[in-house]
Structure formats: structure tokens, C-alpha cells
């Protein structure tokens, strides 16, 4: 990877960091509000896997923030560059499609991790958290962030207008993340919805991530790793192919 890649990566990180109150502060506050409301309503009534509800909820919120912000970073950066036209600054230099992909996705992962760490910092006073198997935490955060970062690249390239991007976000990303066991264990669902949840890759990201905290989860972390790893590999190949063909970027 050359200096072109590292510059693009740096620029993508700098871009969100310059408006950190929107890109980091706001999502941390949102997650904190979710925690306050749900834990107020449900704590004391619900226990999951023997863990008190607030403690169960925190890793879910952290991971949801990682995923949503990873998606937001690459998708919003690309659509803004396309709409304003400054995407040419990235298309004119000798940057390969692989460098392009990695720079956008890694910057998305960084944004996801920064927001995730912020949510963790803001919420972990509310309940005792363990970090039983921390490497799972890291692995799923990185891979989940990369998957949503890739989806963000796809959405950002595909969308011509902001409302198309919003549709992608509202009708795909939001349902997938909300219906993935962030707020509940899928074992508490009726059998039909349990089955449906097992088709949602985001479920495995959150379940595996949560496993790192408590050492227990709905699915085996190895199964989750296999599902999440396959998704990442598939999306990477798909996105690289789009970029190689110059889909919507190089007419």
C-alpha cells in the first residue's frame, strides 16, 4: 500500500474527526438515551443468560453504534463527494481500486470503533460489565465495522441522491441492526422470529461481540465468526468488483 492509500485513509478519518460532535458525540448521546430508557423500563424485570438486563444491553448498544457509524462514514463521505463533485480529487490520482476500498473501509472501522468506545465509556457506569473473552470483542467489532463500511461504500457509490442513501439506510441497515438482538435475546422470541433472526448476519455480529463480555451467547461464537467472516469475504469481493469496473464512478 502506497502513500496514496495512507493519505486517503488519513483524509477520511480527518473528515469525520473535524465534525466529531456530529459524527461521534451525537451517536454516543443517542445510545446513552436508549440505555436510560430501556434499562429504566426493563431492569429488574428481565434477566438474559443470568445477566442483569442493563449489563446485557450495553454491549448490544456498543455494537449497534459501531455498525451504524461504520456504515454512515463511508456512505455519507462518498455521496457528499459525488453530489458536490469533489470525488474527482480521488479519481484523478494514481490510487488503485484496492487502495480506494481499503482506505474507505478502514476509516469506517475507525469511526465505528471510536463511537463504540465512546458509548462504552458513557454507559459502563450503569452496570457491572465483564470482559471474559476480550479477543471476541475485538474480532467482531473489527469485522462488523468492516462489513458495514463495505455496505456504506456500495450504498454511497450506488446512490445518486441523498434520499436514495436514506432509503438504503432506513429500509435495510436500520431493520437489520434493530432486529438483531441488540435489545433482547433472540431466545426470548417466538420460534418463527428466532428462525428469521438466524438469517440476519447482524445477529451474529452482535451475539459474537456480546460473547466476549459474558462468555455466553445465543449462538456459538465460532459459528458467528464463520457467518460474519463469510459475509465480509463476500462483500469485499463484490465491492472490489464494483470499484474495478468503475461502477457509477468512472462512466
Amino acid at each position: 500500500m502506497g502513500h496514496g492509500f495512507s493519505t486517503l485513509f488519513y483524509k477520511e478519518v480527518l473528515r469525520f474527526w473535524k465534525v466529531a460532535s456530529q459524527t461521534v458525540g451525537a451517536p454516543v448521546l443517542t445510545a446513552l438515551l436508549y440505555l436510560l430508557i430501556f434499562s429504566h423500563v426493563l431492569a429488574g424485570h428481565v434477566q438474559v443468560h443470568g445477566v442483569i438486563y442493563t449489563a446485557f444491553l450495553i454491549p448490544g448498544l456498543v455494537m449497534m453504534s459501531v455498525l451504524q457509524n461504520a456504515f454512515a462514514n463511508s456512505s455519507s463521505s462518498l455521496i457528499q463527494s459525488k453530489v458536490t463533485g469533489n470525488i474527482v480529487f480521488v479519481l484523478l490520482p494514481p490510487i488503485s481500486y484496492l487502495e480506494f476500498y481499503l482506505a474507505y473501509v478502514l476509516a469506517s472501522v475507525v469511526r465505528g470503533l471510536v463511537v463504540g468506545a465512546g458509548v462504552l465509556l458513557a454507559t459502563f457506569w450503569f452496570a457491572p460489565l465483564d470482559f471474559v473473552e476480550p479477543w471476541w470483542i475485538l474480532v467482531f467489532a473489527l469485522m462488523g465495522g468492516a462489513i458495514l463500511g463495505s455496505l456504506g461504500v456500495i450504498a454511497g457509490i450506488w446512490a445518486d441522491k441523498f434520499d436514495q442513501l436514506a432509503a438504503f439506510q432506513n429500509f435495510l441497515i436500520m431493520p437489520l441492526t434493530f432486529l438483531s438482538g441488540v435489545f433482547y435475546s433472540v431466545h426470548s422470541l417466538p420460534p418463527f422470529w428466532q428462525q428469521v433472526s438466524h438469517w440476519n448476519p447482524v445477529f451474529y455480529m452482535i451475539d459474537g461481540f456480546r460473547h466476549g463480555f459474558f462468555g455466553v451467547s445465543d449462538a456459538s461464537p465460532w459459528l458467528s465468526l464463520a457467518v460474519v467472516g463469510s459475509c465480509l469475504a463476500l462483500l469485499t469481493v463484490f465491492t472490489l468488483n464494483l470499484l474495478k469496473r468503475g461502477y457509477k464512478l468512472r462512466a
Binding site: 495512507s6 483524509k11 473528515r15 480529487f89 488503485s96 462512466a251
Partner: protein, 303 residues
């Protein structure tokens, strides 16, 4: 030594619109080359294809001997493009934009050259201003600066002076001329034909995706335009002269090739007893060439 730019049989369609139709063009190193044509003639498409922003359907494009698709890294490193649209990244200052752009081309520690560009384009005082705060003209200067950060030997400017004030135009052209004298190849598109006439040593004219004229500026002027004597008379004109002349309102235009023909013409008019109310001598100009080429009177005369 390979040409600065070699375009061979390049075609490009957008849907049913044929934007480029088997374009052949070669620009030698060190040239100041003009690419002219009405809106929609394919100038920007051609530049975009050269820059790799658009992929040609057929044919090949080379920058200093490097194919823009097969050997895109080398080709892009040798090419600096000033886009026509006034685009900027609102997140950064002028200096940040230029440092980032340098980095994209693999260049670290480019401050000395960046300072030189800023100085030459009159941007030094704006170096730390955010891009959003700049006026349109200043943003245009930054666009030029961004195209130059990697010291490209071939520089393409797509209508760099559209909507730009006189001062910037002069600063810009002085700078570009210096770059040209230092050996950079310059390709320019513009709608200001006077600019092209003054700056470019060779000109190609595009119409509906095809090259319809290609020659040195001097030859084009000689071939398609002449000196002319313009007269406002009391209406009459000797038949002998009127045959070659064009009449527009009260004005007669009499073309001539050499100045020693002027005196006999005036003598004939005097002899016919016509009164001359006003008189001027027009030089050959590119606008006339342009109009005549675009009207298709000289199609097929591509040399």
C-alpha cells in the same frame, strides 16, 4: 520520444449520444494546445477519457507513452487536470487540500512546491482559510493549484477562465505560460477565442464528437480568415468590389490578403464617387475561423 498526448481512434457513446466519434489527436511535448468547440462538442468527455474519469468504448489514449487504462498509475502521475466544475472539499483549508492532494500522488513533504504554487497564483494569504470561505475566483485558483501539486509534465485546463475576473485571468495565464516555457505541455479548452488565439500554438476544433479542424493557429487564421477592410458608405459600392464583399447594415466588408491591395480598393471607391463615412481594418480572427468551421463549410479539410 513519445508524444505528450496520443489519442487514437477514440469513440465514446452515452446511451444513443455519440460523444466522441473516432477521435485522433496528437499533442507534442512542449506545445500549448487549444481544444475548441461549442458546448456538447465532446471536449470535456475527451479530457475525462484522458484522465481516466470516463472509459472510452474503443481506441486508446496515451500520456507520454503510457496508456491511461493499462498503465494508469504512470499516466495519471504525468497528467494534471483542472476540472471545469468549480469543486472543492468543504472540510479542509487551502493548504490541507493541497497537502492531501500531494499525498494522493504519493508525495510527502511537498511544502516548498506548494508555497511556490500558492505564491504564483496569489493564494499565499488564503493558505489557511477554509475552502468554504473563499470566493469563486479563489476556489478556481485552488483547483489549478491542486492540479499542479505533483508537477505534471502535461497539464490540461478545462475552461479555467469561465466566469473569472480579469486579474485572475492575467495571473493564471502568466503562470501557465511560465510553466509552458519551462517545458510543460499545456492543453486548454476555452470559449474565449481571443485567449486561445493569443496562447495556443496549435488548435483542434471539435464538433459533435469529431475533430473538424486541426492546425497551427497561424495556419488556421490564414486558411479561414483574412484581413478585411470595413467601410460605412452612403450605400453605394462599385460592382467590381461588391462582388467579393459582404454587406451588413450600412457596413461593407472587403476581404484582402495584403496591405498593398487597400489603396487600389479605396481608389476605386473614390473613382465611383462613393462617400466614406467610416473605415476600419479588421485582422483575421479566430472567431471567424470558428464560426466558419462550425458551419461546416470546411469539413473534410482536416490536416
Amino acid at each position: 520520444m513519445s508524444a505528450a498526448i496520443r489519442i487514437t481512434q477514440v469513440s465514446k457513446c452515452f446511451g444513443s449520444v455519440r460523444a466522441l466519434d473516432q477521435v485522433d489527436l496528437e499533442v507534442q511535448r512542449g506545445e500549448f494546445f487549444g481544444l475548441l468547440g461549442p458546448n456538447g462538442a465532446g471536449k470535456t468527455t475527451l479530457i475525462s477519457a484522458l484522465a481516466g474519469l470516463v472509459r472510452a468504448d474503443s481506441g486508446s489514449l496515451n500520456v507520454m507513452g503510457h496508456d491511461v487504462q493499462l498503465d494508469y498509475r504512470a499516466a495519471r502521475r504525468l497528467l494534471g487536470v483542472v476540472p471545469q466544475e468549480l469543486v472543492f472539499d468543504p472540510f479542509f483549508t487551502v493548504r490541507e487540500s493541497l497537502k492531501i492532494q500531494s499525498g494522493y500522488f504519493g508525495i510527502r513533504d511537498n511544502d516548498e512546491w506548494i508555497d511556490e504554487i500558492l505564491e504564483n497564483l496569489g493564494l499565499t494569504s488564503k493558505a489557511n482559510a477554509n475552502m468554504r470561505m473563499l470566493s469563486g475566483g479563489m476556489k478556481r485558483r485552488v483547483l489549478v493549484a491542486q492540479a499542479l501539486v505533483h508537477r505534471p509534465p502535461v497539464i490540461v485546463l478545462d475552461e479555467p477562465t469561465a466566469g473569472v475576473d480579469v486579474e485572475l485571468r492575467q495571473t493564471l495565464w502568466a503562470f501557465i505560460r511560465r510553466l509552458n516555457e519551462a517545458g510543460h505541455t499545456i492543453v486548454l479548452t476555452t470559449h474565449y477565442l481571443e485567449e486561445a488565439e493569443n496562447l495556443c500554438n496549435r488548435i483542434a476544433m471539435l464538433k459533435a464528437g469529431r475533430v473538424v479542424a486541426l492546425d497551427t493557429t497561424a495556419q488556421l487564421l490564414r486558411r479561414f480568415s483574412t484581413h478585411c477592410l470595413r467601410l460605412r458608405t452612403d450605400g453605394a459600392m462599385p460592382a467590381e468590389l461588391a462582388a467579393d464583399a459582404a454587406q451588413n447594415g450600412g457596413w461593407w466588408s472587403l476581404p484582402f490578403d495584403a496591405f498593398d491591395q487597400v489603396e487600389p480598393m479605396l481608389a476605386k471607391i473614390r473613382a465611383a464617387g462613393c462617400r466614406i463615412d467610416d473605415l476600419e481594418i479588421g485582422k483575421p480572427d479566430l472567431e471567424e475561423v470558428f464560426v466558419r468551421v462550425m458551419q461546416g463549410q470546411h469539413e473534410g479539410q482536416v490536416s
